[in-house]
């Protein structure tokens, strides 16, 4: 094959490694030596890596697994023993995990090569990867714009070709939104389908490990390797994960919901055009459009920012200067906690812990946290009602394409509202998949979001594949993969 290794799909790399035609070391080196020098110095997608460990991981990779020799970048909140795990926070600077997260262990068992840790908003709190301790990740398609967040580093790395797949986490859209901004696929599975053992907790009733890829088939292959119950995570769903092997079988007869009321205002014309195009392509492939009315996203925003912050204030209590990482000395124990947390957490993390503390504090619990839990029930019912009449829903991933660096960092409210379309899936525990739909007139990627009922991953992947081949069913099952829109080196 004459195309450079870094541009191959994960499945093509694995097939080459299994056949003995490709060395995992070469697959890793192609990304880091051939393409990264043109992007990484300004994109800043990777925060922890070193050539020696990458090489050792490649050398030791299994040559017979479904992901044999496939390089993969991990978001910096996923524990692995070979690189630091810092959540891009000062409070965990230099910390190394004594164990691998279950998803990391399963990656290695499948033959994948962990190559390092990707940039993120501190503790996954943010929508732009500007709130981390190691500087922002820039959008590979436009250096003046954000990559999205909070998993911006992994999304950008997949977009520019460093790795074919990457792992992130999605508590309110942190995989789907950067996926849309960077022009790659981003899958948030059903709550409980991927183990969170070894994922640093943020909002435990919402968190889910998510996947990035440049091809729908790579998402399916990775999901199949990672999903399923884990004895170490009591919140994983019992029973085998849904079978996604029929990802290339088309969408004939599937009914997709079309909640047009959600984008009558406040959504960029290029995003609306992408939605119209996606709907036409699904129809071309034989799916049926079902118009429906859906609850506006502002209620999900309000509900989410109470529940997520309340859970965060509890989860992040463990970062206290005693057990992990940073310690600011003080004369007494409370002083040590207070000084360490004040110095170790950045502004957005502090803001969210404070909001969560307030929502849970005596006298305010019922008015805020308990009310949000009831609103969550209302939102869950909205999804149940929608999926009673359709197999999946089509929705924007984001109201706009990637915004400019610094545009929203001083305005938390504006940042929160950019998550309008993604938060609901986390509140309802259902899967969501952002599908790249090409570039807008400014050369920025735009994406659309597919949502399904719990365990509808097979349906979402079939629809994503139908969009990947422009609704042309004759191109399914025989490839070639779609043409990837690559960003330009600088």
């Amino acid at each position: 094959m004459s195309t450079p290794l870094w541009s191959w799909s994960a499945r093509a790399v694995a097939e080459g490694v299994r056949a003995g035609r490709v060395a995992p070391e070469d697959a890793v080196a192609s990304g880091f030596d051939d393409v990264a020098p043109g992007f990484e110095p300004w994109v800043n997608a990777v925060v922890h890596t070193d050539a020696e460990t990458r090489h050792a991981n490649a050398r030791d990779a299994r040559r017979d697994g479904p992901l044999a020799g496939v390089p993969v970048l991990l978001k910096d909140n996923l524990c692995s023993t070979d690189f630091p795990t810092t959540c891009c926070s000062r409070i965990l600077d230099g910390w190394r995990s004594p164990y691998d997260a279950t998803v990391v262990r399963r990656l290695r068992e499948a033959g994948a090569v962990v190559v390092g840790k990707g940039n993120m908003d501190e503790f996954a709190m943010g929508s732009s990867t500007e709130y981390g301790a190691y500087g922002p990740t820039r959008n590979p398609f436009d250096a003046s714009r954000v990559a999205g967040g909070s998993s911006g580093g992994p999304a950008a790395a997949v977009a520019y070709g460093l790795v074919p797949i990457a792992l992130g986490s999605d508590t309110g859209g942190s995989v789907r939104q950067p996926g849309a901004f960077c022009g790659v696929y981003g899958l948030k599975p059903t709550y409980g389908r991927l183990s969170r053992y070894g994922l640093v907790a943020f909002g435990s009733s919402l968190d889910q490990v998510g996947l990035f890829a440049r091809h729908a088939g790579d998402l399916a292959e990775t999901y199949a390797a990672l999903a399923g119950p884990d004895p170490f995570d009591a919140s994983t769903r019992a029973g085998a994960a849904p079978d996604v092997s029929a990802w290339d079988s088309g969408v004939r007869g599937l009914r997709f919901g079309w909640p047009e009321n959600l984008w009558v205002e406040g959504v960029e014309p290029a995003i609306v055009a992408a939605l119209e195009r996606a709907a036409s392509l699904l129809e071309r492939a034989g799916a049926v459009r079902v118009p429906l009315h859906f609850l506006p996203g502002r209620y999900a925003v309000a509900t989410y920012y109470l529940i997520a912050t309340a859970e965060a204030s509890s989860n992040l209590a463990r970062f206290d200067g005693v057990r992990y990482g940073l310690r600011e000395p003080a004369d007494d124990l409370v002083g040590l906690y207070t000084a360490t947390r004040g110095a170790g957490f950045g502004p957005e993390v502090r803001r969210r812990i404070l909001l969560g503390t307030y929502a849970l504090s005596a006298g305010y619990h019922d008015a805020y946290y308990a009310k949000a839990q009831r609103a969550r029930t209302r939102i869950v019912r909205e999804y149940e009602a929608a999926f009673a009449s359709c197999d999946l829903m089509l929705m924007p991933t984001t109201p706009t394409a990637a915004f400019r660096l610094g545009e929203k960092t001083e305005d938390p409210l504006a940042m929160y509202l950019s998550d309008l379309f993604t938060l609901g899936a986390n509140l309802a525990g259902v899967p969501g998949l952002s599908v790249p739909m090409g570039l807008d007139a400014q050369g920025l990627p735009v994406g659309v979001q597919l949502l399904g009922a719990a365990d509808a991953e097979p349906v979402l992947l079939r629809a994503a594949r139908a969009l990947e081949v422009d609704g042309d069913v004759s191109r399914m099952a025989r490839g070639p993969e779609r043409e990837v829109a690559w960003p330009a080196k600088r």
Partner: protein
């Protein structure tokens, strides 16, 4: 609902987070803005909506099932800021045991 500077300081103390005095004002303003946004929940009819804790409801929590893998204490404590004899070291909690 507006949060004033004193309330911001009270919440920060509860959360064990040191805030610089000049930060208290900004935090109070930002938290007030978010609480205004949260007030949109008043528009929802929540009659008959019991609180949801976890979704989907079929995610039954169960006991963890240890498989025998364990960490030696020195490995588990290797990333801790200060340890001694396998214990985490903290400033004195009880000033004196003398009566």
């Amino acid at each position: 609902m507006a949060i004033d500077r004193a309330e911001a300081a009270r919440i920060a103390a509860l959360a064990r987070i040191a805030l610089a005095p000049e930060e208290e004002e900004r935090v109070a303003l930002q938290l007030s803005q978010v609480l205004d946004l949260v007030a949109t929940l008043d528009e929802l009819d929540l009659a008959g909506c019991e609180p949801t804790v976890l979704t989907p409801e079929t995610s039954d929590l169960r006991a963890d099932e240890p498989d025998g893998r364990t960490l030696e204490s020195e490995v588990a404590l290797a990333g801790s800021p200060e340890t001694e004899h396998g214990f985490l070291l903290v400033p004195p909690v009880v000033e004196s045991l003398e009566p």
